[in-house]
């Protein structure tokens, strides 16, 4: 089946930042987390999909359609929820929705009414008086009311209180149940992805680190701990983001079998890695140990 979203060799250069050769695909009916540290290029990817920024090279397809040539069709299939959703603030919730509705042939007024009630949105209240969480709910209601096939969420949970964050994540899990809608969820809060993502795409400094099923990521990456005497160049080559502490080192590896073969007989502790571990350890420069103690004392 054709993926709902496919990026092939996408590049975009700004002054001081380049998104370089990014490729990944999101199958229909799944949630993909787009993770990476601040400034990694997540927002640029989301904006590129919407053609808010012009890519310099590569190709983006949504539901098999070219994101530039078929931009109207593509955007009518996308629901966009921004980190800080902006609407016409002086309007009431109802009128702000009425401003957006005519742009979408698939707009379902009854569905918006139902979602507004379900999300507890005061329909006669002005948008400017809504809280941050209410604005995000409103943006989500708008995205769902036009029956978007692809929800693009750009850091929607940052700055939200834990209760609404949890509610938002549960809601997203519910959205994909019918298989009609897929979600690309950009965030740097990896705990959110541990909860709901099926796929994880990790970008750092404008480059793709990996894009894979979350379970594969968990299986592939593990944390290893051992004594610092084990840190030969060959071992270091198989480790990412080495942290040296008083009693040894902790690092991430995607090649446990190779490491075990190299360190046969040595005492090595292996622990499962969370997405946060993967983000933390792979986000650091190779051969640049983080020392958590002063060994000159």
């Amino acid at each position: 089946m054709e993926p709902i979203l496919e990026l092939r060799h996408v590049t975009k250069a700004y002054e001081g930042f380049t998104l370089e050769d990014v490729s990944f695909a999101l199958p229909r009916g799944y949630i993909m987390g787009l993770i990476g540290p601040n400034g990694a290029g997540k927002t640029t990817i989301v904006k590129s999909i919407l053609n808010l920024v012009r890519i310099d090279g590569g190709e983006i397809r949504v539901a098999g359609l070219d994101h530039r040539r078929d931009e109207v069709d593509v955007r009518s299939r996308i629901g966009f929820v921004h980190e800080n959703p902006r609407f016409h603030d002086a309007l009431t919730v109802e009128r702000a929705a009425a401003v957006i509705a005519p742009f979408y042939p698939t707009w379902d007024r009854a569905e918006f009414g139902r979602l507004a009630a379900e999300f507890g949105l005061p329909r006669r209240q002005r948008v400017r008086t809504l809280s941050r969480g209410q604005r995000t709910r409103f943006a989500l209601a708008v995205a769902l009311a036009h029956r978007a096939e692809l929800l693009l969420l750009d850091e929607p949970s940052s700055g939200l209180d834990p209760v609404f964050r949890r509610e938002l994540l549960d809601r997203l899990s519910g959205v994909i149940e019918g298989g009609h809608t897929s979600v690309l969820f950009s965030t740097h809060i990896t705990a959110d992805l541990d909860r709901i993502a099926d796929y994880v795409t990790f970008v750092r400094q404008g480059r793709l680190v990996f894009s894979a099923a979350k379970d594969d990521v968990r299986e592939r990456w593990v944390l290893v701990k051992g004594g610092t005497e084990l840190l030969t160049d060959e071992v270091r080559a198989r480790l990412a983001g080495i942290v040296v502490h008083e009693f040894g080192f902790t690092a991430l590896t995607g090649d446990l079998a190779g490491l075990r073969a190299l360190l046969a007989g040595a005492q090595l502790v292996v622990e499962p890695a969370t997405l946060e571990d993967v983000l933390f350890y792979t986000g650091r420069r190779a051969h640049d140990d983080l020392r958590l103690y002063d060994d000159r004392r």
Binding site: L50, D73, V99, F103
Partner: protein, 247 residues
């Protein structure tokens, strides 16, 4: 003959323009309209006895009506919302030009109606034909407002409102200095070296000459065609600029 694809594209553009105009109407609410009207009457009443100044108050009203929605959306940082809607950027540009044309027509209406109602009330002693009552005066109004719109909108779409306002300010200043210099060179010794506005009398002289040479209907048709061509070129520039801009 148009193909099905061209017909569908036109229908899509028309639907998008209509949706954008409805958006503008909702964003520009009755309170904004009341503020504009009150300001217009207040300022217009102060300058009703001077044709030139009253003319520029009308042009100012047109400018305000053209810019109000872009200003509101700029303050709200709504560019991204607009850009994420299922409309082409060229459709957004077309809609903005249509709403600007409507704004200029509405401002012309207020200028003419204001001239008829306000001026006799506030300046009963004035004599001579009023600018807003003559064809060349009205054409001058449209030439000036259309010219300013044709300069402003491409800057707005390429640079966004903040930087576009500065660039437009520089162009406007150059027009003031340049047209004052032309007026002085043409023998109008009383023309100030730096007018607050380019003297509309210069444009009016040109319009007058055209009407005298071609007759009113042909001159009007020629001016309307010229303005349409100017707006088309300006719109083309605006589309090119907007398509290159990252939102």
């Amino acid at each position: 003959m148009t193909t099905d694809a061209e017909g569908a594209a036109r229908a899509e553009t028309a639907r998008g323009v209509w949706a954008l105009l409805r958006k503008d109407l909702r964003v520009f609410d009755t309170r904004d309209a009341a503020v504009f009207l009150a300001l217009y009457v207040l300022v217009g009443a102060q300058v009703a006895r001077w044709d030139e100044a009253f003319f520029w108050v009308g042009v100012g009203l047109a400018g305000g009506l053209v810019a109000i929605v872009p200003i509101v959306e700029w303050l709200l940082e709504a560019d991204r919302l607009l850009g994420s809607l299922p409309v082409r950027r060229s459709t957004i540009v077309i809609a903005r030009y249509v709403s600007a044309a409507v704004a200029c027509a509405v401002a012309a209406g207020f200028w003419m109606a204001g001239g008829r109602l306000l001026v006799p009330l506030l300046s009963p002693a004035r004599t001579g034909p009023a600018m807003w009552e003559s064809l060349d005066g009205v054409l001058t109004f449209f030439v000036v407002t259309t010219g300013l719109v044709a300069i402003f909108l491409p800057l707005y779409f390429r640079l966004a409102l903040g930087r576009a306002s500065m660039a437009f300010g520089a162009v406007y200043l150059a027009l003031c200095v340049g047209s004052s210099a032309i007026a002085r060179a043409a023998g109008a010794a009383t023309a100030p070296r730096l007018a607050l506005a380019p003297p509309s009398s210069l444009v009016r002289l040109g319009v007058d000459a055209l009407v005298a040479r071609l007759g009113a209907p042909a001159a009007t048709a020629l001016i309307v065609a010229g303005l349409a061509a100017l707006l088309s070129f300006s719109g083309w520039l605006a589309v090119k600029g907007f398509e290159r801009r990252d939102l």
